[in-house]
Symmetry: C2
Subunit: 313 residues, 2 copies
């Protein structure tokens, strides 16, 4: 296995992406502090470019390529934020991007990726078809595969959000982030554990609790097509992200679907911030007081939602 990324890798990523990524603001809410019984600091990656932290990792990965590699272009399969993030990162580097998307992906997501100048290749909506199609694209074009999370450059890039947060807010007791594949959470654990005394906590839906089970059992226990509104957290841990979470002793907490929607609504109504269901997962944990500490940082992972299909009733 590749060596585990370090805080020096995250510092390197921060330098690399600085000309392109936003230093996102940290926001607070008295109402939420009251419910949580703590001071809560929201690191607003929904205000990052492409509307999600994913731009940090994709940008670091693409800018880490040698000129020779970069000329070959980059490829991935994703129907979500990683697709848009890689497309924009490739455009910034001036190289081709090939994005394999399932044919049932929302037209608006496909349009966004094409809007960044990427070539979209359709495939059947199964993991097997996605993997086969991206393999074919790579063999035809020679493009470099940029995975969504199980990659040291991606992890280092995602860790730059927590690196910034550590500089923006003093004396945190805990930092909590959502966990799907674990790229954001492992990068957060490395940055937070190296730069502060704060603990790192992962939050995931009860309905997609593979990270909690994996940490408990000491081996990767993949989710099997989990059903959760938090569409960004349906993936399972990778070898590399799992190794980081184990090494750093990261604790995982889980929340119900109902609590995810409630948390999303509180943030929209009281903070006036559009956050996606996956980003509401750690907020739900904080509102449920599952995280100990008087000062808690929350990585708000993204804000990409379909406004015509909202869960509020």
């Amino acid at each position: 296995m590749t060596r585990l990324p370090t805080v020096e890798d995250i510092r390197g990523a921060a330098m690399r992406i600085a000309p392109h990524a936003h230093v996102t603001p940290v926001m607070t809410s008295r109402t939420i502090d009251g419910i949580a019984g703590a001071r809560v600091f929201f690191k607003c990656e929904n205000l990052q470019r492409v509307g999600a932290f994913k731009f940090r990792g994709a940008c670091n990965a693409v800018l880490s390529l040698s000129d020779e590699e970069a000329r070959r272009g980059v490829a991935t399969h994703s129907s979500g934020n990683h697709a848009a993030a890689l497309a924009l990162a490739a455009r910034i580097r001036g190289v081709a991007a090939y994005i394999v998307m399932p044919e049932n992906a929302p037209a608006v997501k496909r349009a966004a990726v094409e809007g960044y100048g990427a070539r979209v290749v359709s495939c059947a909506p199964t993991l097997r078809s996605r993997e086969e199609t991206v393999a074919r694209v790579i063999s035809e074009t020679g493009a470099i595969f940029v995975p969504p999370y199980n990659d040291p450059r991606i992890i280092a890039g995602q860790g730059t959000a927590a690196l910034e947060l550590a500089a923006q807010v003093d004396d945190l007791d805990a930092v909590i982030a959502p966990v799907g594949g674990g790229g954001l959470l492992s990068g957060t654990a490395i940055a937070t554990g190296s730069l502060s005394r704060a603990r790192t906590i992962g939050a995931e839906p009860e309905a997609a609790d593979d990270a909690a089970r994996s940490m408990r059992e000491g081996r990767i226990v993949p989710s099997n097509d989990p059903v959760t509104i938090a569409d960004g957290l349906r993936t399972s841990l990778g070898e590399l992200t799992f190794a980081v979470l184990r090494e750093r002793g990261v604790e995982i907490v889980t929340v119900s679907e109902e609590d995810i929607v409630k948390a999303m609504r509180v943030v929209w109504e009281r903070m006036k911030l559009v956050i996606e269901p996956s980003a509401a997962v750690p907020v739900a944990a904080v509102l449920r007081r599952l995280v100990q500490g008087a000062r808690i940082g929350v990585i708000v992972s993204g804000g990409n939602v379909d406004l015509t299909r909202l869960p509020f009733t």
Copy 2:
């Protein structure tokens, strides 16, 4: 008529409310700049306390009262942001607030006002019943009436948003704000005209274009129950706000209902900010390129919406 407020009144208001009001951030979006053909700076009053600029004026009015006046409590009629703003301002000063609300006001709004400790008095949903009920409450309690816009202390308070904006962003060509009763727009015109070379523009729905007609005809032409999604802009200019807009030569532009919803959606989707329809009105004008200039400030008036009744399809 009362003398017109000056920039010194706005500076005084800023000092008075500083311990209680947020200095709201200014946000930008490359996407919106591209559509508008200008650099657009969003002054985020949706992130102000109670979710709207209205807190500035209400807070200034309540803090301007003598101790003797304040002890009598304050009263107003409003089903919107002024109600919540006055309730919070009264709580800060530690005095009673009596808010007359139409009996068909949304339960959530009533609950918000009561949550700030105000006494809510119901009335029939007509202007006449509102005025009669507030008159009765005042005669019974001795409370001081705090009007929503046609008042020099309210205008001075609302002007503090533009005062901040002038310090936050250099070299604006224009500042645009929505116009309903004209409290925000007249305060904006005084601050902007006194502190910069920027023009002040008012934006209103075509369906509630009383300000445009009033400026054209040189007399107040009230709206008669206008139907617009911009519920904060259904009121008509008052004598004092009209006088300020005339004195400052403020230009009014109008936008369609369809453009208001489109602008609201662009801000939610691309900036991840929850803004209310009234706040989307000046954004719509900017997206339609109705405002000349390379650098345009927009006062984003508020973010209070019912998430179960959104106009997106």
